[in-house]
């Protein structure tokens, strides 16, 4: 039995459920938008792995029956289980519920797409760049600095063609550094920021699903393709092929990070080089599936159906 763990209000969770339904794969949904209200749980830690059960509306699932898990805990709404006007109490109760589910998923002996431990590298982009380099992929010239002089020198060295982006997992729009941004560099003394040499070329999003590689080429003039259309840029997606060594590096990067599925952001430069920027550990792949017609959710369903060596 497959366990899907996420909020139905999350498009990706809903899409995975729809795909499993379509493929005829048996699954149970732990709808985190209705947890714990509509569920009964009993998870016991006596041996190496947790034992017990989850009971949902009209069903009961022994933890030992779970063959694979797909989770989007981070994207779930997680309503507070207690009705209170006190925000801190509500947040504490919500954190307590979330903590229990996350501990369970971390320790189930079956494949979990993806375990929380592996996703934590996503909270430090420079750490991820280290993982990427060790996997054999190129990374952009980068400076992390709280020194305005160093930032200014880096911009000059790159001919002014520099982008900045957040260091953490907090989502930010990747932007080119403009002249007026340089005037704000004094603010760096409050904390470091990350600047990267702008890399020209086509964006390529690689979804690794187990051993499978699904690569999508994205053509746009926008710096951050995720926001291209909203900013008046054209955007086109199409399936693409990668050299074998790049595919192997993407697989190594995924498994090395303890993941079964990842969304890897690459660029192919006009010179034919590949540069990798980051790894999304809980990829919202619907947009790419819809844009390119590639069967990402079908590959995910197959992975969950057959299971895989647990990581």
């Amino acid at each position: 039995m497959i366990l899907v763990c996420g909020g139905l209000a999350d498009d990706v969770t809903a899409f995975v459920c729809a795909r499993l339904e379509y493929e005829g794969d048996p699954y149970r949904l732990l709808d985190l938008g209705r947890y714990p209200r509509d569920y009964a749980v009993r998870w016991e830690w006596e041996g190496d792995t947790p034992a017990g059960e989850i009971a949902g509306p009209g069903w009961r699932l022994d933890l030992a029956e779970i063959g694979a898990v797909y989770t989007r805990c981070g994207a779930a709404g997680w309503p507070s289980p207690v009705a209170t006007a006190d925000d801190r109490s509500a947040a504490a109760a919500r954190a307590e519920c979330q903590g229990g589910v996350e501990v369970l998923l971390e320790q189930l002996p079956c494949p979990v797409v993806n375990r929380g431990g592996g996703t934590m590298a996503n909270m430090s982009k420079p750490f991820q760049l280290g993982q990427i380099a060790r996997a054999g992929l190129g990374v952009p010239d980068t400076i992390v600095t709280s020194d305005p002089e160093a930032a200014r020198a880096f911009c000059a060295e790159c001919g002014g063609d520099v982008i900045f982006k957040s260091l953490s997992g907090v989502r930010s729009i990747v932007r080119r550094v403009a002249e007026h941004d340089l005037e704000r560099l004094a603010l760096l003394r409050h904390g470091p920021a990350q600047f990267q040499r702008y890399v020209p070329g086509d964006n390529i999003r690689v979804h690794t699903v187990g051993d499978e590689i699904i690569a999508t080429r994205i053509r746009t003039g926008a710096v951050d393709y995720r926001y291209a259309r909203g900013r008046g840029f054209d955007l086109a997606m199409e399936p693409t092929r990668l050299p074998g060594w790049v595919e192997d590096a993407c697989r190594a990067l995924t498994t090395g990070a303890g993941l079964l599925m990842a969304g890897i952001d690459l660029k192919e430069t006009p010179e034919g080089e590949y540069v990798c920027f980051e790894v999304n550990t809980s990829p919202g792949f619907i947009w790419f599936e819809q844009g390119s017609g590639q069967p990402i959710s079908t590959a995910l369903a197959a992975l969950l159906r057959r299971g895989a060596p647990a990581v």
């Binding site: 016991e44 830690w45 109760a93 307590e96 229990g100 590298a121 430090s124 010239d141 904390g191 920021a193």
Partner: protein, 298 residues
Amino acid sequence: MTGVGAAIYLLIGHDDDLCCREVADVLRARAARVIVTPEPLAGEVAFSWAFGARPSSSSLRLADGTRIDRDGLAGVLVRAQGGPVEGEGWTVEDLAYARTETSAALVAWLWDLPCPVVNRLTPDLWFGFRRPLVEWRPLLLRHGIPAANGLICGDAAAARGFARRWGGVAVYAPLTSRARYPVADEASWAELAKISAQLPVCLLEPSVGAAAYACVAGGVVVWQGRELLSGGERAAMESGLRSLAAGLGLGLIEAEVRRAGGGARCYGLELFPWLERYDTASRDAIVGALAGSLGVVG
């Protein structure tokens, strides 16, 4: 005793951190230069780290103009996760964002340093160092460390069933706090039933008596409350804890050990232990071991 000459050590921690203070004293006594700051990447320090196609290079420029290159650091002790420390002038949201960003940079930079770092945490530990026992438990068992049994449930009857094994007594241990509450009488069971009606609760098997603490510093195990355990129990714990620290690549961890029905059990693990609970001789042993982990031979 070997001195370290003009070696420079970075201790990332707050002024009131006894561990930082005492390690700094030991290092300074060996003529080392020691920088103690909770904010190594901002504030008084200008930080710069470049990498990519070129070899990695990084530096800290101190308020007095001194520049310390990556290769100039002899060792780093990590007791805090970066700044900004002062919240004045920040909105709550901006301060949280700034701390998240700095913390993200710091964990990565620590992994880029060639010198000894205590503790060099992986991101899953860095961003989740405060873990409940049930989360540590499988790892503890894998290293031969007995740990208390636990239960998460939203059902008062199941909770009572769990406690029946220990004479109807259990410990309510919220996952997101260090607080623990004995559940032993009808009033406390009624209170627990009210909570479990709203959200699942975590229970642990009960313990007897006070806790002992085992601090593993640089492979040396130092106890506070060693008399609470038998020699055999201590030896088994020490072996497991050394193995665990080595497996995690950490030079400093602390286990909370209590006596339960089946013998000594681990009830918690701390990656930033506070030295205040240890007596002077124990503290000296821990600090000496930490200095050794940082490369000081003494």
